[in-house]
Assembly symmetry: C2
Homo-oligomer: 231 residues x 2
Amino acid sequence: MQLVNNQCNCENCELKPIFFEYVEEKSLENICNWKYEKAFRKGENISNQGDEIKEFIYLKSGLVKLYRKNENDKDQIISFAKPLDFISLFSVFSNKSFNYSITAIEDSVTCNINLNELKKLISTNGNFALGLLTKVSQASDKIIITTLEIKQKQTFGRVAYILLYFSNEIYKNNSFELPVSRKEIADHIGMTTENVIRTLSSLRSDGIIKIYGKIIEVVDKDRLQKICNYS
Amino acid sequence: MQLVNNQCNCENCELKPIFFEYVEEKSLENICNWKYEKAFRKGENISNQGDEIKEFIYLKSGLVKLYRKNENDKDQIISFAKPLDFISLFSVFSNKSFNYSITAIEDSVTCNINLNELKKLISTNGNFALGLLTKVSQASDKIIITTLEIKQKQTFGRVAYILLYFSNEIYKNNSFELPVSRKEIADHIGMTTENVIRTLSSLRSDGIIKIYGKIIEVVDKDRLQKICNYS
DNA sequence: AACAGCTTATGATATTTATCATATTTTTGG
DNA sequence: CCAAAAATATGATAAATATCATAAGCTGTT
């Protein structure tokens, strides 16, 4: 992790219109004093389950995974988060400590805001609070709905779902390099690594995708979408 | 559904210390003008997936289920909610319409607050907003964590989980009447009705529970807890 | 270069879960 | 109160998924 040389550039932040929608210029200037940016390399840990929450974090660039260890010490990946998704969306306001870990799965930059200062801003600025409440709710909703959707599918539907997620939501390209291992996909969609691999192989032999190691090319997106919807 | 004769009794509301923690007496009086109470009989629908959200709803008494229909028209029960759990916790601030339905599974009374008025209160009262943000986050967190915990278990662990939930969280008694059918349990924990029935039968023949129709008696809670933790 | 460790891959098999069939009991509506 | 529908129950079987075994390919390190 590396602290980014921190010129106050909130004015240019692409998140500004969303995050700071309701904050006047004057308050916005203050934010520069509480916030700083951190850069993480692929694979680096951003925060750990159990850590005290001292900061509100969001992602400026990159890609991260949110995951937790269960009682049997097995990882469950809750979701992936891309920029404009808040990453410290849940736990932050409801807990003293994180109930999940965050790790960068691509080189990432986070913007960190001191939580106490943020809370002060919320308590003195109702409109900002309402905006934030909306964002936090949207982020939680998305996790809940996504989890339900994955849960109702079986093997092929789940693998199709995650491939379409990376293709459509993250890389916006039919060809992309998987930022995660087969095991991580398995930990996210709730199946074994072997079955993820097998399912990918099967999609390949049906000519729906091509596989070059970590690189996936979606050849027949219509069929993949049908598989996602109906199985 | 029946409108409850609506004397303003927020002062005595058991939710007051939580919900209105940060609202001064003066604002609190206003709330009486926007809120009203509704009584629902077991089985009655409180709101429907797709309905426009006009009110913030919470549960004064009773028990409800939150569920949604998926593309294949199959119900998925997201969670059960008891009093002090907000029931319009998600969607409310993030969506124009409910992305789930709510049905009373026991006679229930809701308190409904006009959403626009509530939003005005939020925007003019930052402390209240922060309190609400905390509550909404806690409610979402609980759903997310619960869903993950259920997901990682298999048949026996899931059935044990739901029995312990009703026994410990809802009825605080080793003997209780199930407020839901076997099918509804199945829709919640993601298995088939037959398997829920079979698993219950199996727990009975192992002497862990007794079954009298809808009435369940947990005979050996320690073993049930072990089953919940380890399968 | 060589080794260790991890990931990907695939086959064989075992286990888990769903589906289908059927019967009994309970609930609901006229 | 009765008939129909729904819920509960259980067995037999099929399908889905996990587990175990093995091997090849990659990756990082010394």
